[in-house]
Amino acid sequence: MFYDPRISLGMLFTLIGTVLTAFGVATRSNADMYAKSLGIDANLWWGLVLLVFGIAALVLGRRGQIKLEKK
């Protein structure tokens, strides 16, 4: 294995999660925009989910990378 792929996975999802969460917070009062998603601020909530997933992957990936380098 070249490097632990969970690191890039974690970085990608942390980044996307941050963008979505920030966008969700900024557009929270825009009811027209969220009429599509049934009045739910889907960007904010799904952004948070992805952020958690991304950070978890990043932490696991870091650990895996340290193990990999020890070998």
């Binding site: 294995m1 070249f2 490097y3 792929p5 890039s8 996975l9 970085m11 990608l12 999802f13 980044l15 996307i16 963008v19 979505l20 966008f23 969700g24 557009t27 925009m33 969220y34 599509k36 998603s37 049934l38 739910i40 889907a42 960007n43 799904w46 952004g47 992805l50 997933f53």
Partner: protein, 612 residues
């Protein structure tokens, strides 16, 4: 139709950046042909499993599963899950030790170098049978993978154009409408080529794992919102009319059920036990145990993926169909007319599934007098319906990811097969490793160019699109039969395998040429020789063709094998299952692959029963 907002484009850009990052960070490691074509054979099983899943979710699969949900209803979950999972488990338990080869032997006799670690399925055929079988299969496989990558590019390119994703880019470049489609096909293809050239199979696999996660992340919110909109699970059950597949099987009787199960097994086997585009990921595992676990990990996640991909179709047909509406409201004496114009093809559709539009935008009528529906648009339309700006970008990223994962699998497998099984085996036997590396890179370029050519051809002749089922039946179904015989029957011979491959392909072509689904014109959809019988649907024709090709190939290969000289036992060590060193059983019984496979199978059956 909205253009993409800045946030949407930003997410697409982030994704594109990470795709290339994987390529650049693996580039220094690409020092040998083995590194490039087999990712150094050092991948952990979970990455191989995710990469197999990512590779298996090409654009036809993603659009096709949504379409099947819209068209055939709930039962398609059972069809897709039960059609593939047994084959994936079988591949993990019994085939990977044979295909992966060498390592299990090398443990037993370390003094004998692993001379026959097959790098590809054609190479396995060469070791197990003979050179002509290897060349025949390598040629057929290379043609198929380039062609299907082209069709995948075209299928998704069409969706991108319908969704106006590349309109801004095309607008700044002043491209005509046809140019937008070309751009929508060329841009993903170029990105795939870039990271494959940089990082080889390793980069493709890293990205496939990423792409798989993105597909789930992009589609899941839409599925959840859609379910909420129609009142959750019970709402979905109540809204779905008695579905078509059930009605069909009932009227045809038990024979049809047996046929469907058999065909499902053949199709699943021809994909998961045979197709090098998927198996290459498992063959890059770090050892035989990891290679065995990879398809099982993919199988365990597959049930979930099938549900996430089919539900959009199910929901799309039961939502109200949009209609042109005029709302008049009086505001302080000023009368406003709010007109929402819906194109006629959309109005003629069912729910969010539009009718196919002809050149003037009028809905096309099918043979039965109803509008012919464009089922492939059900998943993309669901994304547009439910996702607000921001998440919509993530949804589009998921579509792009699925396209690129599938195309990358085709490109890397094309490159490996060309380099190992055509160039090294027949053109330059003693080529140095450096040269192989260069050839593999050029083969990847060639593969992408061929795929792009096929995509342009499909753009010109729309009917090529329907040929993909036939190509699959001609190439993969006979190969499945021959691989089964080769891996489990010591008596199978090279002449037998060669005859079996040709007979199976011929039988597939013949059956396709003599049968025509009801209400179709003779041509690429069947019946181009003479019309002898009418299968109930395109699906039935495709299944029948694959099944027949499999059976004919099996019988011919077995018969010819019995009349030709068998290979020596010593030459088959590690190539036939019964002569392969068993991975020694370590650990408690419930932790072994067999127990894992049984648990996954039971779970898959349980989930399918909920949906039937």
């Amino acid at each position: 139709m909205p253009n993409l907002a800045a946030t949407d484009s930003l997410i697409l850009l982030i994704y594109g950046f990470f795709m290339l990052t994987a390529g650049f960070s693996l580039k220094p490691a690409m020092t040998s042909g083995q590194q490039f074509m087999q990712a150094g054979r050092a991948m952990p099983s979970w990455l191989c499993g995710l990469a197999m899943l990512g590779a298996s979710l090409g654009s036809q699969e993603l659009l096709g599963m949504g379409a099947a949900g819209a068209r055939y209803g709930m039962a398609s979950v059972a069809f897709f899950a039960l059609g593939s999972i047994p084959a994936m488990l079988f591949a993990g338990l019994f085939l990977m030790p044979v295909f992966y080869g060498s390592n299990s032997i090398a443990v037993e006799s370390p003094q004998k170098p692993s001379t026959f670690a097959a790098r590809s399925i054609p190479e396995y055929l060469g070791l197990r049978f003979d050179r002509k079988t290897r060349l025949l299969n390598a040629g057929m496989f290379a043609a198929m993978s380039a062609f299907s990558a082209g069709i995948a590019l075209y299928a998704m390119g069409r969706v991108f154009v319908a969704l106006h994703i590349f309109d801004q880019v095309a607008g700044t470049l002043n491209l005509p409408p046809a140019g937008t489609l070309l751009l929508a096909m060329a841009l993903p293809a170029a990105l795939v080529l870039a990271y494959v050239l940089l990082g080889g199979l390793g980069a493709a696999m890293y990205n496939q794992a990423l792409q798989f996660c993105l597909i789930v992340a992009g589609l899941l919110p839409m599925v959840l919102l859609g379910l909420k909109r129609i009142g959750g699970w019970s709402g979905l059950k109540a809204a779905i009319p008695p579905n078509a597949l059930h009605a069909g099987t009932r009227s045809l009787g038990a024979g049809a059920v047996v046929f469907a199960v058999g065909a499902g097994l053949v199709l699943g086997g021809a994909t998961w036990c045979t197709d090098f585009r998927l198996l290459q990921a498992a063959m890059a595992a770090k050892n035989v145990e990891a290679a065995r676990k990879a398809p099982m990990i993919a199988a365990a996640l597959r049930v979930f993926v099938v549900i996430v991909l089919i539900l959009p179709g199910l929901i799309a047909v039961v939502l109200p169909t949009p209609h042109t509406s005029i709302v008049i409201h009086n505001d302080n004496g000023v009368i406003y007319h709010e007109i929402t114009v819906v194109p006629p093809a959309v109005e003629a559709g069912s729910g969010l599934v539009p009718a196919k539009a002809d050149a003037d935008g009028k809905p096309q009528m099918g043979a039965d007098g109803h509008a012919a529906l464009d089922y492939a648009m059900s998943t993309p339309n669901m994304l547009l319906q439910f996702l607000p700006a921001g998440l919509l970008g993530l949804g589009m990223t998921a579509l792009l990811a699925c396209l690129m994962g599938g195309v990358a699998a085709s490109v890397t497998s094309f490159s490996t097969v060309f380099t190992c099984d055509i160039f090294q085996a027949f053109l330059a036997k003693n080529a140095a490793d450096k040269r192989l590396l260069a050839v593999a890179r050029w083969a990847a370029v060639g593969g992408v160019l061929l795929a792009f050519g096929a995509a342009c051809a499909a753009m010109r002749f729309n009917s090529l699109f329907d040929a993909i089922v036939l190509v699959f039946a001609v190439v993969n179904a006979p190969l499945f039969a021959v691989l089964m015989l080769g891996a489990f029957w010591k008596r199978a011979t090279g002449h037998g395998a060669f005859a079996g491959l040709i007979a199976g392909a011929a039988a597939a072509l013949l059956h396709h040429g003599l049968a025509l689904p009801r209400g179709e014109q003779p041509g690429i959809r069947g019946g181009w020789i003479a019309v002898l019988h009418h299968p109930a649907s395109e699906l039935a024709l495709g299944l029948g063709t694959a099944m027949l090709a499999f059976l004919v190939s099996l019988l011919v290969a077995a018969a010819v094998s019995l009349f030709t000289k068998a290979a020596l036992r010593e030459d088959l060590q590690g190539l036939v299952f019964s002569l392969t060193a068993r991975p020694s059983a370590i650990g408690p019984r419930w932790k072994r692959p067999e127990a894992m496979a049984a648990a996954i199978l039971l779970a898959a059956i349980a989930v399918s029963l909920i949906f039937i």
